[in-house]
């Protein structure tokens, strides 16, 4: 991660820090890992033990560790990388700080009131509100603490909790897919025709599929990362369709590699991903010129990448209705490729197919 961050254009002073740390980490990876593990274990013990003499030092050490990670690995959170990782150290630091305040600034117990304020003892909401308001009146900063605490809980509930719940669902809601790819774009324009051949050598054109709902995407058969996952979520989406609808749906992929586009590669991909068992799966290829024209018609970029990297191509899916109109355009980046993520993409695609079939 540090190496990737260091390659991002940024002031030299920052990249030099990260590069230096990355070099040190490469040379002494075991020692760095050992140090971090021991430090985290000790800090965890110190925080959990809750000894007031130790806590300030533990929190200070946590702050140093978090800030060092934020600067040397996460590149200050905004110069490099995408997603939520690059800034994770700051919320962690805030949580630790909040925990420290919670542990050290515990109010003295009013013994006389303890009997009625024990947890598990019924206290009316109104009484709680009065007690809270009284506390705010005595110490206005308490209001700020309460607002921050409520805000933290709100962020957790609004952001992380639904994602976490969705991640645990075998048939996740579209939320995971939309977090990576955005919502499908509902459209209504005429799909451009193409004339290619399927993996068995049979000629196929879009016109020949008129009357069926077509889920169309572009796949590199020798892609090592995303394309196998895209095939899988197409397969899952197919399984989510009612049998009566499935017989009027075609899942179509057009090869997105200018070199490995022969039938042997398409069949190898089908076998690898188990696509050969789908009756409505077509993987199309053709002469390079015909492929280039089709890529252009659908705005798909396919290009060689340098130095042993895979072919770069757009990850996009079109859902075309029975009358030949594009009804939905979906970004089809499979993201992390987890089971829940794939399931979420499949739910999204299946919903788009059902909508287009109406």
């Amino acid at each position: 991660m540090a190496a990737q961050m260091a390659q991002t254009p940024q002031p030299h002073v920052l990249s030099s820090w990260i590069t230096a740390f990355e070099g040190f980490d490469r040379a002494h990876g075991f020692a760095v890992n050992l140090f971090v593990v021991i430090a985290l274990a000790l800090l965890g013990l110190a925080l959990l033990a809750g000894r007031t003499r130790v806590l300030p030092y533990a929190v200070a050490a946590c702050a140093v560790l978090c800030l060092a990670t934020w600067v040397l690995v996460q590149d200050l959170g905004f110069f490099g990388g995408v997603g939520t990782d690059p800034n994770s150290m700051i919320p962690v630091l805030l949580v630790i700080g909040g925990g420290y305040l919670g542990m050290t600034r515990v109010p003295a117990v009013n013994r006389s009131a303890a009997a009625v304020t024990r947890i598990g003892t019924w206290q009316r909401p109104k009484e709680r509100l009065v007690a809270w308001w009284s506390a705010v009146g005595r110490r206005p900063a308490y209001l700020l603490h309460s607002v921050i605490a409520l805000g933290a809980v709100g962020i957790l509930l609004l952001g992380a909790a639904p994602m976490a719940v969705a991640s645990l669902q075998p048939h996740a809601a579209p939320i995971l897919a939309e977090a990576v790819d955005g919502a499908p774009n509902a459209t209504n324009f005429v799909a451009r025709d193409f004339r290619l051949a399927d993996q068995y050598g049979r000629p196929v054109s879009l016109a020949s599929l008129r009357g069926k709902t077509v889920a169309l995407t572009f796949l590199d058969p020798v892609c090592t990362s995303d394309c196998p996952l895209i095939g899988q979520y197409f397969r899952q989406a197919d399984a989510m369709l009612a049998p009566s609808l499935r017989q009027h749906v075609e899942l179509v992929a057009i090869v997105a590699n200018p070199l490995y586009r022969s039938r042997s590669y398409l069949l190898a991909y089908d076998q690898e991903e188990g696509m050969q068992h789908l009756a409505n799966w077509l993987y199309l290829t053709g002469p390079l010129q015909a492929l280039r024209e089709t890529w252009d018609k659908y705005g798909v970029q396919v290009e060689y990448e340098p130095a042993g990297a895979m072919i770069g191509h757009s990850e996009i899916a079109y859902v075309i209705g029975p009358r030949g109109h594009v009804r939905s355009v979906l970004e089809s980046d499979p993201g992390s490729g987890t089971e829940a993520q794939e399931s979420s993409l499949a739910v999204t695609l299946a919903a788009a197919i059902r909508s287009a079939a109406r």
Partner: protein, 406 residues
């Protein structure tokens, strides 16, 4: 646990309940133990490995020029290790990189084979989520022609002048050798490790695994093996629909040692093999050349562990070069050395190499190049005829897309 009866007043919490400390200590100790176990397991030696494989880094020459395949990038991270394919034209002056024209992520490594004298056949070993191998051929690196996909993970690749290709594929059920020719659009199984082991010549060898393949100039198909029977070397020839052992008969000094074929090729009309010989006292490499009469001539032994090999390949004189690790610097980088055997009857010649040498190549008559790699930089070191020191030559910065295979 109490509610804040007087929020304005703060006092130290004091001692926490003992169960918290105990649980925290137990969790911490468990995590620490798990991590230490993982670290120890990853750092532990691999243990006894029966079957040795030749390293992928190598160089070969065709009529059009010299090809070299080397790993670059972050070599400790498989998906950030990208194999590069450098080409030095026969009448050129510089190395150029053609890995970008392969059209596939090549983190799994490249297998090279010369198709006669003119073209190069390359198999890209699968990596990450890909489970089959892309194959393509070229003469100059600029234009490529795809060859039928290999459905599996190839360990060795060979090509004949008449267009017949041979591949050794690794499968969980056992290795197998596939063959294909230009008229065929598919690979056909020639023999499985099990079938070869069951054959009469196979029983004499008791192969633990098949290790390499070669195609002779006359279309002869050769398979090398790691023999389980001591003192036997496993080179097999496919002849008129049947397999026969091509030897060699190892000398008495190797009678109790296990012999494995590390690499196999055809030099003109007879096989040439690099053997790894393992005994209780150590390992050594022995080169063997088969004569027209079927008798083999063996080189003297080169004492080094096959696990230390960085690169092996042919020399222009029909011999073998061997690049291996011979020490380690304080910063963790290795010292490499080169041993050259220039043909039958020659003796191993040892010479130092520039740091980070991944392979050596012979791009011009009398000239030896050491291709040294460090992350994204390839430095070509030249050793001109008669010179005693490597001279720094071309420096190539490779534009690696780190993270693109994740």
């Amino acid at each position: 646990v109490t509610m804040p009866a007087h929020p304005g007043t703060t006092v130290p919490r004091g001692q926490s309940p003992t169960w918290v400390s105990r649980v925290a200590t137990a969790v911490g100790a468990a995590l620490f133990a798990i991590n230490m176990y993982a670290v120890a397991a990853s750092a532990a030696p691999e243990g006894h490995v029966d079957v040795l494989r030749a390293p992928l880094a190598t160089s070969i020459s065709t009529f059009e020029g010299t090809w070299a395949s080397v790993p670059m990038g972050h070599l400790d991270q498989p998906l950030n290790t990208f194999w590069q394919l450098f080409f030095f034209p026969s009448h050129g002056e510089r190395w150029s990189n053609h890995a970008g024209q392969l059209g596939i992520a090549d983190n799994g490594g490249l297998l090279l084979a010369a198709r006669g004298d003119r073209s190069l056949l390359v198999a890209v070993r699968p990596s990450n989520r890909l489970e089959f191998s892309a194959v393509a051929s070229t003469t100059d690196g600029r234009s490529w022609a795809p060859v039928t996909a290999l459905e599996g993970n190839p360990l060795s690749l060979a090509a004949g002048a008449d267009g017949q290709d041979l591949a050794l594929l690794h499968e969980a059920s056992g290795d197998k050798v596939l063959t294909s020719d230009r008229r065929s659009s598919s690979w056909q199984t020639l023999v499985t490790a099990h079938a070869l082991a069951s054959s009469r010549p196979g029983r004499a060898c008791a192969p633990l695994a098949l290790t390499s393949v070669a195609v002779g100039a006359s279309g002869t198909l050769l398979v090398g093996a790691a023999c389980g029977r001591a003192g036997v070397a496993g080179v097999f020839v496919y002849d008129h629909g049947a397999w026969r052992s091509a030897g060699p008969r190892m000398s008495e000094q190797y009678g109790r040692d296990h012999v494995q074929v590390l690499s196999l090729r055809d030099a003109g009309s007879a096989p040439v093999a690099l053997f790894s010989v393992s005994s209780a006292s150590g390992e050594e490499l022995v080169e063997g050349w088969a004569g027209a009469d079927g008798r083999w001539r063996l080189s003297t032994g080169l004492f080094l562990k096959a696990r230390d090999l960085v690169s092996v390949g042919p020399t222009p004189g029909g011999g073998e070069f061997v690049v291996y690790r011979d020490g380690i610097h304080r910063d963790g980088t290795h010292t490499e050395k080169l041993d050259l055997l220039n043909g039958p009857g020659a003796v191993w010649q040892t010479m130092p190499l520039p740091n980070g040498t991944a392979t050596v190549a012979f791009p011009a008559p009398g000239r030896t190049d050491a291709l040294s790699v460090n992350d994204t930089v390839m430095t070509d070191w030249e050793l001109e005829p008669g010179a005693s020191h490597w001279a720094k030559g071309q420096v190539t910065h490779v534009d690696i897309l780190f993270g693109s295979s994740n």
